[in-house]
Symmetry: C2
Subunit: 340 residues, 2 copies
Amino acid sequence: MFNVAVVGATGAVGTTMLRVLEERGFPVTELRPLASARSAGRTLDYLGKPFTVQELTTDSFAGIDIALFSAGGSRSRDFAPAAVDAGAVVIDNSSYFRMRPDVPLVVPEVNEDAIPAHQGIIANPNCVAAPLVVALKPIADAVGLERVVVSSYQAVSGTGAAAIEELRAQTGGNLAGDEPEPSVYPHPIAFNVLPHIGPFDENGYSDEELKVIAETKKMLGLPDLAVSATCVRVPVFHGHSEAIHIETTEPIDATHVRELLMAAPGISLRDEPGDGVYPLPREAEGLDEVLVGRIRKDLSHPNGIALWLSSDNLRKGAATNAVQIAESLVTNGWITPSTV
Amino acid sequence: MFNVAVVGATGAVGTTMLRVLEERGFPVTELRPLASARSAGRTLDYLGKPFTVQELTTDSFAGIDIALFSAGGSRSRDFAPAAVDAGAVVIDNSSYFRMRPDVPLVVPEVNEDAIPAHQGIIANPNCVAAPLVVALKPIADAVGLERVVVSSYQAVSGTGAAAIEELRAQTGGNLAGDEPEPSVYPHPIAFNVLPHIGPFDENGYSDEELKVIAETKKMLGLPDLAVSATCVRVPVFHGHSEAIHIETTEPIDATHVRELLMAAPGISLRDEPGDGVYPLPREAEGLDEVLVGRIRKDLSHPNGIALWLSSDNLRKGAATNAVQIAESLVTNGWITPSTV
């Protein structure tokens, strides 16, 4: 049994982490919800019992075995080392450590074998990159992967609770004939799409796009893979979707891709488009699996395949994947329980 | 001066055609709004005067010089030949005639020179293909074009007035905690995205995707161009957007593409992403220009360029382009006025 801290426990991902720990029966002895001073004192429910949120400090981690961080990059930077010093394994949902060579960046279905090399911190990937590599890994293993072009359709819950409220209030305002001023996003998100997720670099790429590109290569273990991305926020509450066009090393047909993905872990195939069956973000909501469908030859390349996926960005894109990493530590004996 | 019939005058595109004819001061002698028997007798406003909608029959076109059709493929099939027989030039917004070799498929900024070969019918392109070729043509002319991969973010107004109402009612219902049954679309469109526009073929492509692919090649005059598309409906009322990844024949950098597109007709550049300036569907609404931005090297290909566009699907994607074709007939002397 393990003592588990959840850092950022009151946030959209943090509360989902509690739900996922419950649902999957993670062997928790002590649960320690941590958050900023502003949220300290609030009560969270875990397995039907109330837990008081404690203020996050460098002294928060005594006796903790596993610390799930989801409180933003600066909190991970400032507090993850303290957790490691206290003997915990940190599973960090922020982007802060992801690209460090000494930090494994892990989706267990894809590169679980990277976990044991950790130096105390294991990074949880970006919420577009995580489902993407789940879908691509079986194809890469079977026929090789040369290039990936992905366009995303990302839900506002990826931004956080304030963005969910902004979409709700702005949409209601629009329907009533008002135009509420945006505050979370730079432009209205209601009945709009925004090709802007994170700051832009000098080459015109958004931070989100650069994360998707770099993390996909790292997790697939293909540093020379050609990857490009356009990341777009859409007026959806929960569930990221992705239009994916790939080029494989050896040719492969859609039927074979379908067989590979049907047999692959973490994927639920939804691919009967003629019957209206394809991945939808609203159907992905609440599921731990990545929904994959619209699998077809990419007509523009001899070795091209096109596909479409939807995934719950708070689950496989964040909380579920973090808990799966913790499960992997446990089931592989890569972490020693402090309690029995 | 010209006698102009608008077929499907009460629909979303038809009413926009009236607005565009007004705004652009098209030289109309007689305006004849036509629609199904169900809509006949309704009154439409044109230049501040009421016009009574007449029932569409094969006898509707006596004296008409230009017939703008936007009433669906079967009405175009059944009535366009009668309009041609009556001496009119048909500009048809349906897909029915678009791929016929004897029918020019035209975006005037791109292939105006195809117009005079018409045999009575000129086709107006699909609402994703039209803005796409406006953005691609200057690049194709400058450095050659090898491949286009496009993912669309399409507004419900492309489906028609009932879809606009479905999005509105369903969104309001959702916000109130209800889940109204979808009727226009097979799944909820409120707070969702649907990778399904038109029926699917045996290869898993939707009809919309196949139109984008075939029409892009035809209008650019590049039958061997490699094109692939994923077409997606999003909960936006007006304005289609597109994430476009292309490969050019000769390499080109983003600055040069920006210069080409700034000088090109029909384009308004919105490309200062660091200042929050990029194409948005809600900002494209009501504009005749295609908004283009997010121009950058595609990091996944040596000759790759990525860009993003938004365009009013009822205007450049339909009504404006049709009226521009009519203007081209007039200004080039390719049609003889029946009245002075």
